[in-house]
């Protein structure tokens, strides 16, 4: 009887005690609703990477990882609910995958001492780590994207854009408006004429904007769109016979979803990127072996190698590497969110390390610091081939114009610091 009671007591303590053997990575996903087509591949890639390192490496530093998924439906209120519901699980880093949710979580994560990674979205000036202690947006942000597009056009035009007309077609939201200041500054610097064409949510009807483009005949169109806005814009561009090679989307307008509906007409469309495309990387062999063949693929397992799947995979790799860095800094395997933040701030991604991880040239090499949470802002260009239905990189990851971007980051973050009485973090 005593033995039985003792066994029960131990079992009860084990059950009631905190789960020590997991590194928790929450995934604020959206697998339902109007933006599900974009949310699913990212969430699948994020989950599959952690499934793979659990099976292949036994987790990170000997500690297994656990992905806690919470459905936001790309809705800001639900995203905040997800954060509140999952932060108690020991969540190490949040990736809200929504600019709206990001804005809500910046003060919350700072107060709760939990880091947040907003890769290629969110508040651009969060790159200033001196002000935004818990928000990171490496390796690139919206302003790097805008600058990357102009740099690409400069390269295409022999370094001279004076007298050129460039139109920005953008989602009429905080996200879509992000590049305007940067493009206005770049317009002054390089002498091109910038026209702004907002598209209201959700963007199913864009006839007015594309009729205007047809009348104004800009040399190039840059698009900051998301969801159905992208597909309609590509179709409308094809309808008015705007040359696809002169049409550049930001990375949120550059997935298979955005071009397949337009069929052959989308051939040649370009999109910026901060990570590589396709599945021709050794890591995908491991995904196949340890995840797909083991029957552990996230979702339907049909997104592997797509642009947004790769983005989720890349985000997971960066999170895992930051966790590994944190373990090294603090000398413990079972890290806390605060330690994770330190790991993110000390993260260095080198080409050698990416090759070691089976992801050579999958993204740019970069280093994060206390002052710079945004990395160097290297962006590349991809192009869609409608025949083979594939995206391919057509430029290397190149620098953006920090001479223009850095003052904007400083100005915006200083305003945020003043509003919120934030002292220097570094």
């Amino acid at each position: 009887m005593k033995y039985k009671l003792g066994t029960m007591a131990i079992a009860a303590i084990m059950a009631a005690g905190p789960v020590m053997a997991d590194l928790v990575f929450p995934s604020l996903s959206y697998r339902t609703g109007p933006y599900a087509a974009g949310g699913i591949p990212f969430a699948d890639g994020y989950q599959d990477y952690f499934t793979m390192i659990n099976a292949r490496d036994g987790g990170i530093g000997g500690v297994m990882t656990r992905v806690v998924e919470c459905e936001t439906g790309y809705n800001t209120e639900k995203g905040v609910e997800c954060y509140e519901a999952t932060k108690g699980e020991g969540s190490l880093v949040y990736q809200p995958l929504s600019t709206g949710i990001t804005y809500q979580l910046i003060p919350k994560t700072t107060a709760d001492n939990i880091p947040m990674h907003t890769m290629g979205y969110g508040r651009t000036s969060a790159a200033n780590g001196d002000v935004f202690s818990h928000t990171f947006n490496y390796p690139a942000n919206y302003w790097n994207g805008a600058s990357g597009a102009i740099k690409y056009l400069l390269d295409e035009n022999g370094g001279d854009l004076s007298g050129k007309k460039i139109a920005l077609v953008y989602h009429n939201s905080a996200y879509g408006k992000e590049p305007i200041r940067t493009l206005e500054e770049l317009s002054k610097k390089h002498g091109f004429e910038l026209s702004l064409l907002p598209v209201d949510h959700p963007g199913q009807e864009q006839k007015s904007q594309w009729l205007q483009i047809r009348r104004d005949r800009p040399d190039n169109v840059i698009m900051y769109g998301w969801g159905v806005m992208n597909q309609v814009a590509v179709q409308e561009a094809a309808n008015i016979r705007f040359p696809m090679e002169n049409f550049i989307g930001i990375w949120w307008s550059g997935s298979e979803n955005d071009v397949l509906a337009a069929g052959a007409a989308a051939d040649g469309y370009k999109a910026l990127t901060f990570h590589n495309v396709g599945s021709d990387f050794p890591v995908f062999d491991d995904i196949q072996q340890y995840v797909v063949d083991a029957g552990e693929a996230a979702g339907a397992g049909d997104q592997i190698g797509t642009v947004l799947y790769n983005r989720g995979l890349y985000a997971a790799m960066l999170a895992a590497e930051a966790a590994r860095t944190a373990q090294g800094i603090h000398g413990v395997a079972d890290i806390t969110p605060a330690m994770m933040r330190d790991g993110m701030e000390a993260l260095e991604i080198t080409e050698a390390r990416m090759t070691e991880l089976g992801m050579p040239n999958f993204g740019p090499a970069f280093k994060v610091s206390c002052e710079n949470h945004g990395g160097p802002g290297l962006v590349g260009m991809t192009q869609w081939d409608a025949d083979t239905k594939t995206w391919s990189m057509i430029s290397d990851f190149g620098p953006s114009d920090m001479e223009v971007i850095q003052p904007l980051i400083d100005e915006d973050s200083a305003a945020y610091a003043a509003e919120n009485n934030i002292a220097s973090n570094c």
Partner: protein, 328 residues
């Protein structure tokens, strides 16, 4: 002719075409509201569901494949055949009739005599239910809809207008087809309502369902008929909008485009839906063209509602709606 006037004419024509597409969505609302007094919040989702079903059938997709695979450990996604567009449309129509029967049998039959707000709330529930079922049946990915509809600039109009004005107008072939389809649809609906027994019964129910009931009209049958017709209209709208953007879950949001049309045209008038759509389409496009740049652009969404509100001030029942007089 001044350049701006020529551009305005092009915008006007494109506004008319956009209005037809809005009207296609509004028609479904009108049909159900007219016959049953229910404002069907689920009309946009019905268009999505119909389009998803159509593409699923055409591509030979296995419905509920994720659930089947997760339950039985199979790896089924496609049957391995494709179905021609016309046959797929007929099969989808069958599906929409089945849906109408289910809606009537399992939802509204139990809500007879309830307040309109209760019925409206039921349609909200129906919208979320249908969206979920659509996701489970066919998945959330964006699907390409190809039923052979032409897209892109109409060369003839481009050439003719270029000859006249020195500037070729852009008119999308898909919009021209939508206009033709809408014309056929409205004519068909009017003829059906005027000259068939079922159509007359439908109108009788719309006028006074208790009186219709007393002369032997089956309310159940009429409501199933009306929901089926709304399902058919939803399918047409789903095809037209789905051809533009691919079939995806944001298709359900097209209902937002129909609301100002209904406010303007009236909730009970089929011609009202058409005229309302045209006024909204032209109004928002011309406003954007004339004042959009000065106001920062993206005026279309809010302007459509402002226009509808202005009409409401002067004609609360809408342009063609029935004026309700209640005596105390």
């Amino acid at each position: 002719m001044p350049e701006q006037l020529i551009f305005a004419m092009e915008v006007f024509l494109n506004g008319l075409m956009a209005g037809v597409l809005y009207a296609l969505v509004a028609l479904g609302f009108v049909l159900i509201f007219k016959a049953s007094g229910i404002f069907n919040f689920a009309q946009g989702v019905m268009a999505l569901f119909a389009a998803l079903t159509l593409v699923g059938i055409m591509n030979g997709q296995v419905p509920f494949a994720h659930i089947i695979n997760a339950t039985f450990g199979t790896d089924l996604h496609y049957f391995g055949w494709t179905v021609p567009g016309l046959l797929a449309i007929l099969l989808t129509m069958g599906m929409m009739v089945l849906l109408a029967w289910c809606v009537q049998r399992f939802v509204f039959r139990h809500l007879v005599g309830q307040e309109p707000i209760i019925l409206f709330m039921a349609t909200i529930g129906l919208a979320y239910f249908l969206e979920g079922v659509g996701d489970l049946m066919w998945g959330s990915d964006i699907k390409t809809l190809d039923v052979g509809l032409p897209q892109g600039i109409n060369e003839t109009i481009d050439e003719v207008t270029f000859g006249w004005f020195g500037y070729g107008f852009f008119i999308d072939n898909l919009d021209l087809v939508a206009t033709l389809v809408a014309a056929i649809l409205v004519t068909g609906l009017v003829l059906f309502a005027q000259y068939t027994k079922q159509g007359r019964a439908m109108r009788a129910v719309a006028d006074d369902h208790q009186a219709a009931l007393s002369v032997g009209v089956s309310l159940n049958f009429i409501w199933i008929l009306v929901w089926s017709l709304a399902g058919f209209v939803a399918l047409v709208a789903g095809i037209m909008w789905g051809a533009k953007s691919g079939v995806q879950f944001s298709l359900s949001l097209i209902a937002l485009k129909a609301l100002p049309v209904l406010m303007l045209g009236g909730f009970t008038s089929i011609p009202g839906a058409i005229v309302g759509g045209l006024i909204i389409g032209v109004g928002e496009k011309l406003f954007e063209f004339a004042l959009g740049p000065a106001l920062g652009g993206a005026t279309e969404n809010w302007f459509a509602y402002v226009l509808a509100l202005i009409f409401l001030v002067f004609r609360p029942q809408g342009l063609f709606g029935e004026k309700i007089i209640e005596r105390v």
